[in-house]
Each structure stands twice: as C-alpha cells, then as structure tokens.
C-alpha cells in the first residue's frame, strides 16, 4: 500500500523542520510513504526550512487557508494514486506516533475515513478549545446529522475511496465539518481513534483565534443559504 502524508503549513518556519523530520518513513502494512508539504503562501522561512528535508513541496502563491491546502494535498494524492492519505498539522500539535493509529483501520479495511480525536482520551485540553470544539461538533451534528467527538481534528486518514470521492468547498476551518458531510454523502465508513493533543505556547499563538469561529460559521451559513 502507498501512503501520502499531507502537511499543510503557513508561516511555520520555527517548527516545520522538526515536524517534517519527525514523520515516520515506515509504517506497518505500508510499502511506500511519501510526504507532501503544502506551503500555503508562507511569508517567512517555512519553504527554506522545508527544503532541507526530502519531501515534495507544493506552494500556493498566496495564503488561501487550511482547507485549500488540504484540498491541494488530496489532489496530489489522487494523481499519485495513493491508497491512503493522511493529513498532519504543520504546527507540531500532533504526535507522529499517532499516524500509525489513524492508518490502522484503513489498512484493516474497517473504515474509509479515520478521525484522530483529542477528546476520547482524558488529557489536558485548553478550556476555550473544549468549548469551541463542542459547539463545532454540535453544529456538525445539527447541520449534517454527523456525530463526531472532534469534527475539527487535523489528524485524519483517508482510504483510496475517500480520496477519490470527497470534494469539499470550504477553504478555511469550515472544511473540517464539510469532510464529514462528504463522507456521509458517499456512504463512507467513518471511525475515530483517540490521539494525543500537544498544546504549546507556540501552537496556541499560531492556532485559530476563538473569534474566528464566528466568521467561519457565518461563511458556512452563507454557503448553505445562498
């Protein structure tokens, strides 16, 4: 099986080298792993740091958002006929060891879309993140009828069927919920596995502002009610 790890990055020069070099080169059940860095219009030295590592790099000329970067990565995975695609945040929030956990249900053909959830395992998560994600999960349930404990997770694995069929329009954080809707639309089997959440002062500073969630939600409503 061929796997593609997609790492979206925007202005992550401080940590991207560490993230890319920490990614696994071998996984049980996978014969070939490639990493794609999608540089989403970074204005710092993200590209320079990434070029020090042996990964494929695709660059957006201007910043278009996490959803757009993931979509570019999935498009490349589709063209390369990858059997599995994994999205992995470029800000150091994820533990590379969890990649094996999200990939396992796909290798065992038990799921098409695997979401790494931060909220199934008891661990320290900032309170504001808990609240925002709770509302996001509720919105995902009410609008799409999809139950998820972590609809906004950045660590996901897609089977070949999911790579070929999922097509979302959201460009910013709103795409996370849309992926679940697409999975439901195409009758994909979704499962969740608990993962570790790493919150550092760096990732908190780089992460989404809490007020952004209102803008994301309103853009999402406009798309539905247009």
């Amino acid at each position: 099986m061929k796997a593609q790890i997609i790492v979206p990055a925007f202005n992550e020069s401080q940590i991207i080298f560490k993230v890319l070099t920490s990614l696994p080169r071998k996984l049980k059940g996978i014969s070939n792993i490639e990493t794609i860095l999608v540089n989403d219009g970074s204005q710092d030295d993200t590209l320079i740091q990434a070029k020090k590592v042996d990964v494929q790099i695709v660059s957006h000329a201007i910043n278009r958002g996490l959803g757009a970067a993931i979509k570019t990565g999935l498009e490349i995975a589709k063209k390369k006929r990858a059997d599995i695609a994994i999205t992995f945040d470029g800000d150091g929030q994820h533990d590379p060891a969890d990649i094996a956990k999200v990939v396992e249900p796909i290798i065992e053909k038990k799921a098409d879309l695997v979401i790494g959830t931060r909220f199934k395992k008891l661990q320290k998560v900032p309170f504001d993140r808990l609240i925002i994600n709770w509302f996001a999960n509720l919105a995902t349930l009410m609008m799409f009828g999809v139950v998820s404990t972590d609809s906004q997770s950045g660590l996901r694995a897609f089977s070949k069927k999911a790579i070929d069929s999922i097509d979302f329009k959201g460009e910013r954080m709103d795409f996370s919920s849309e992926i679940l809707l697409e999975a439901k639309k195409h009758n994909l089997v979704i499962c969740e596995v608990p993962i570790k959440a790493i919150y550092t002062s760096y990732s908190r500073a780089k992460g989404q502002r809490n007020l952004n969630s209102l803008a994301v939600f309103s853009r999402f409503l406009v798309r539905i009610f247009r």
Binding site: G41, Q56, V58, H60, I62, R64, A68, T72, E171, V222
Partner: protein, 125 residues
C-alpha cells in the same frame, strides 16, 4: 410646485438612471440587472413626483406614513443587496483559491516531470 427636497431627489434620480443607462450600454451588467435598477429608480421617481402614492402604499401595508413605508422597504432591499454582495465576494474568493491551487499543482507537475526526465537522461549513461 415642487419643493426643494423634491428637486434635489429628482436631480439625483435622473443622474442615477443615466448611470444605469451608461453602464448597461458598456455591458458592465446584464439587461436583467439594468431593468431591476431602472424599476427601482422609476419607483423612486414616482414617489418623489407623486408623494400621495406613498401614503396610499403606506395604507396598504398598515403603516402610518408614506416615508416610513419607503424606509422599511429600502432597508429590506439594502439588507438583501448586502447579502448578495457577500455571496458574490465568497464566490470570488473560491475562484481565486481555485486559480492559486491550479497554478501550484501545475508547477508541481512541471517540477516532477523535469526531475523524472533528468533521471531518465542520467540513466542512459
């Protein structure tokens, strides 16, 4: 005899209609859009020249004064137009993202085919 406000509004409406005519002649917007704006400004013209029509309209809607019903209708129309503009901006954002992604993917493809053709040239040695 027209009042000052009627004259001012009349001048403004004639100016607005002339802009609609010029822009539709330049094909900046469609015939349907031009007709929409002609109707809006003509309704304004009727309201300014025959103010008693607004009082009759107010009576139809159960509102006290003609000017109140004009304000309510204008506000509703403005909110709808703002929503349509917001939708248009979102569409433009999506189109820009599509272009940015396509350019990135094409550059990536050119890069990988250059690498594989140089590898093939190397292997001939």
């Amino acid at each position: 005899m027209l009042t000052t406000i009627q004259i001012v509004l009349l001048i403004f409406i004639i100016f607005a209609i002339s802009r609609v005519y010029l822009r539709s002649r330049e094909k900046i917007f469609s015939t349907k859009t031009a007709i929409f704006w002609y109707l809006i400004w003509l309704a304004g013209l009727v309201g300014v020249l025959l103010p008693k029509t607004t009082t009759k309209l107010a009576g139809l809607f159960g509102v006290g004064r003609g000017v109140d019903v004009i304000v309510y209708i204008a506000l509703a129309l403005l909110f709808y137009l703002v929503f349509r503009i917001y939708v248009m901006i979102e569409d433009l954002r999506h189109e820009i993202t599509y272009l940015v992604r396509e350019i990135a993917l094409q550059k990536s493809q050119k890069g990988s085919s250059a690498v594989s053709s140089s590898r093939r040239r190397g292997s001939k040695k």
